[in-house]
């Protein structure tokens, strides 16, 4: 017990003696854990806004889209309503496709005819204005955002003027631009039919049935919303029905589970970005912490000697160093968890197409445990080597504050003799500590990997942004870019911290040789330039390696997303 107290006391005193270094270490680990927390918090949050929307709109368990009319339509509707387990329905509602013009913006939409009275199943929840009336349409919220319209504005559908009566959300289809994400029976042209390659960027508009029929320039399609006695069996029903389809005229059934999965698409992308980002940041944090801890260790050589001289065992010396950094890692994990948990709602917006405001992120106890474990692992991985080295240091040389013997690279010494003085000094400085140089190179490689992956994403997003109808802004891309900005900002901050820490450690280590170089006639500028060169030299191969790695990371992250 006494030994534990002693370790705690020594660790606490040491932390108080060097508060700036402790803060740096805390910040570095916190940045990584906060990002990891965000990634984990987003994992389960996607379903919550959908559930709220489904409850608020009496959302259907199954949505059937039917491409027939007349007697065939009636027969198919009767068959669907007669299916065992079906307990209620809304529709069938006529559906036409329409070219929407709102100011200078043009898009293609599915226009669904509704009754002015509320429907028993899937009554879209108004977020603005009123429900449909003759000449007045209601626009799905994400689509309205992309069009830049609100209640009271005027638009045209297939050239006919309408007023925007309201804005609403629904659980019966994914929001714009992923209307067809869960399966789609509508083509962009007027004629409905089975669509083998569903178009992206379709919007949804509700209007009166009479207006919908008036818009149609060809055969109408129909939507029938069903409720089941056992909503959990919706997926099985849809699959069974889909397997039994002999030809394309039969209705297409979409379960609420498929719709929820399509809704989650946006959060899944964001989560993928955050998870990839947090691992990149984690690696960078390990490199930074390793350099920081090694630098702190170099400053404590004499203290280690004193501890040993008064009877401290090598184990005690290692334990003190480990205790310091593990305590900092625990604090950083706590702060990172808090920061990530608080920031998650800002990034887990339910999307314009869903109801409600974002709730508390679904951070579970195992998630929190994982974050803490990662923080401790980062600190442990970075501390272990310096701690063992400190424990093994001879007491006499530690008391003399002797610097750790630098590595000799004969070929570097020989080759650098031909270089200008700053390069000569810098090359030799970098070669003295190959492990630090490797860590520096790895840090830069990780940073460049992240930056290249972000740039690749932006290039890809630039192509995708034109893929929606009428060149409307894609809300999914906007959200992903917001998350990417956060990851990039943290990456940049961590890379900055890493550069500061590495430079500090190099300067610390080079104190003696720099002073000697000055005594032998090197100018202050030459010494400063030499220290800079010692930073830049390992950075070059790291940066070069980061380019293909970044492209690879983007490819892997993209392929994971399907």
């Amino acid at each position: 017990m006494g030994k534990v107290l002693l370790i705690c006391r020594l660790a606490a005193r040491d932390l108080r003696r060097r508060p700036a270094q402790a803060c740096l270490l805390l910040l570095v680990i916190m940045a990584a854990t906060a990002t990891l927390t965000l990634g984990l918090a987003l994992r389960g949050v996607a379903s919550q806004p959908y559930e709220r929307t489904r409850a608020a709109t009496n959302g259907p368990d199954v949505v059937a889209t039917i491409g027939t009319s007349g007697q065939q339509l009636s027969a198919q509707v009767r068959a669907l309503l007669g299916t065992p387990g079906v307990t209620g329905h809304g529709g069938p509602y006529p559906v036409a496709s329409a070219v929407v013009r709102a100011g200078s913006r043009t898009a293609v939409a599915v226009a669904e005819g509704r009754d002015p009275v509320p429907a028993p199943v899937d009554q879209p929840a108004l977020t603005q204005g009123r429900w449909v009336r003759p000449g007045g349409v209601v626009i799905e919220r994400a689509f309205a955002d992309a069009l830049g319209v609100s209640a009271g504005d005027r638009i045209t559908l297939n050239g006919r003027p309408f007023s925007v009566a309201g804005i609403a959300v629904t659980a019966a289809s994914p929001p714009y631009p992923d209307f067809c994400e869960a399966g789609c029976y509508f083509s962009v042209g007027n004629a409905p039919g089975a669509v083998t390659n569903p178009p992206s960027g379709l919007g949804l508009i509700w209007l009166t049935q009479a207006d919908a029929r008036a818009l149609a320039t060809g055969p109408l399609a129909y939507v029938l919303n069903l409720t089941l006695a056992n909503p959990a069996g919706a997926q099985a029903l849809a699959t069974r029905y889909d397997n039994a389809r002999a030809h394309t005229d039969k209705p297409v059934l979409t379960s609420w589970q498929d719709l929820r999965a399509a809704d989650a698409f946006m959060a899944q992308d964001a989560q993928r970005i955050l998870m990839a980002g947090s691992w990149v940041l984690g690696v960078l944090a390990v490199a930074t912490v390793a350099v920081l801890v090694a630098g702190r260790m170099a400053e404590r050589t004499r203290r280690v000697g004193l501890l040993k001289a008064v009877g401290g065992t090598p184990g005690l010396v290692a334990a003190v160093l480990l205790a310091e950094n593990l305590v900092l890692a625990l604090a950083a994990a706590g702060a990172g968890l808090g920061a990530g948990w608080l920031a998650a709602p800002l990034l887990t917006s339910p999307g314009a197409g869903l109801a409600g405001t974002p709730g508390a992120p679904s951070l579970t106890l195992p998630d929190a445990g994982l974050v803490v474990a990662v923080a401790l692992a980062v600190a442990l991985a970075a501390t272990l080597v310096p701690a063992i080295r400190a424990a093994r240091t001879s007491t006499v040389s530690a008391l003399a504050d002797a610097a750790r013997a630098p590595r000799r690279r004969a070929w570097v010494t020989a080759a650098s003799a031909w270089l200008p003085v700053p390069l000569l000094l810098g090359t030799r400085l970098a070669a003295r500590r190959p492990r630090r140089a490797a860590l520096g190179a790895a840090s830069i490689a990780v940073t460049v990997t992240g930056i290249v992956a972000v740039l690749a994403y932006h290039a890809h997003a630039g192509q995708q942004s034109d893929a929606g109808s009428g060149g409307l802004p894609n809300p999914l891309l906007g959200h992903d870019q917001q998350i990417l900005f956060v990851v990039t900002a943290v990456l940049g901050a961590l890379a900055g911290l890493n550069a500061i820490v590495t430079a500090w450690a190099t300067v610390l280590d080079a104190r003696h040789s720099s002073a000697l170089a000055r005594a032998l006639g090197a100018t202050p500028q030459q010494v400063s330039a030499g220290i800079s060169v010692a930073q830049v030299l390992p950075a070059l191969p790291g940066a070069v390696a980061g380019i293909p790695l970044g492209i690879g990371l983007f490819a892997v992250a993209s392929s994971d997303g399907g």
Binding site: A405, P406, R407, R408, R409, T413, A417, W418, V421, L424, R428, A431, R432, H512, S513, L516, A517, R518, A519, L520, G521, A522, T523, P524, Q525, Q526
Partner: protein, 248 residues
Amino acid sequence: MSETADTVVLRTRELRKTYGSQAALVRAVDGIELDVASGETVAVMGPSGCGKSTLLHLLGGLDRPTGGEIWLAGRRVDRMSEKALARMRRDAVGFVFQAFHLMDELTAVENVELPALLDGRPPRAARRRAAGLLERVGLADRAGFLPAALSGGQRQRVAIARALANEPLVVLADEPTGNLDSAATVEVLRLFEDLHVAGQTLVIVTHDSRIAATADRMISMRDGAFIDETRLTGGTSGNLAGLAGLEG
């Protein structure tokens, strides 16, 4: 002092270096007046903390004085910019430290050639010069050894060779035998004797009277000021080790 040396290479006037202020003021160097002639060997001796090393650092441009003047080869040193001071240290001054201060990761010859490389000399010429200097200090066969593989005396000889790399006007030695045993001290003193004979100007700071006795002039220092000066007959041109009482 050698017969031909009568030009003053190094001169100080009212040289002062203080630390702290008011009650805590420490006068490390207090009004030193010094003239060192070309080819002269001057020994400054005194107890620990009397300001000898501080004086040497001021003379070599490693530290800046609080007041007074320092002149080296007719150029005023105390007003020089950092860059000019660096050039001066490179071209005109050679340092020999008590703790050797060799680069641990460089071999003997690489350590010796370093000042020449810093001076921008071609690597081959620097290496030739370094090899020649190592031969001069009797370490030609240790040229490829790292400092850790050399004895204390050998390390100090490497440091002396390094101090001579750029043919300095003056060599400043700070307790050059302070870390050496008697045998190694004799080796180093012989080297200084050779340098003296060759006309090299030397300022040696020491608290060992036997070392000081080998100089042309011995200056005693206490509390930052010179308190006594003795001109020695013969200087190091005689039997140095015998004079110093170190010959076995």
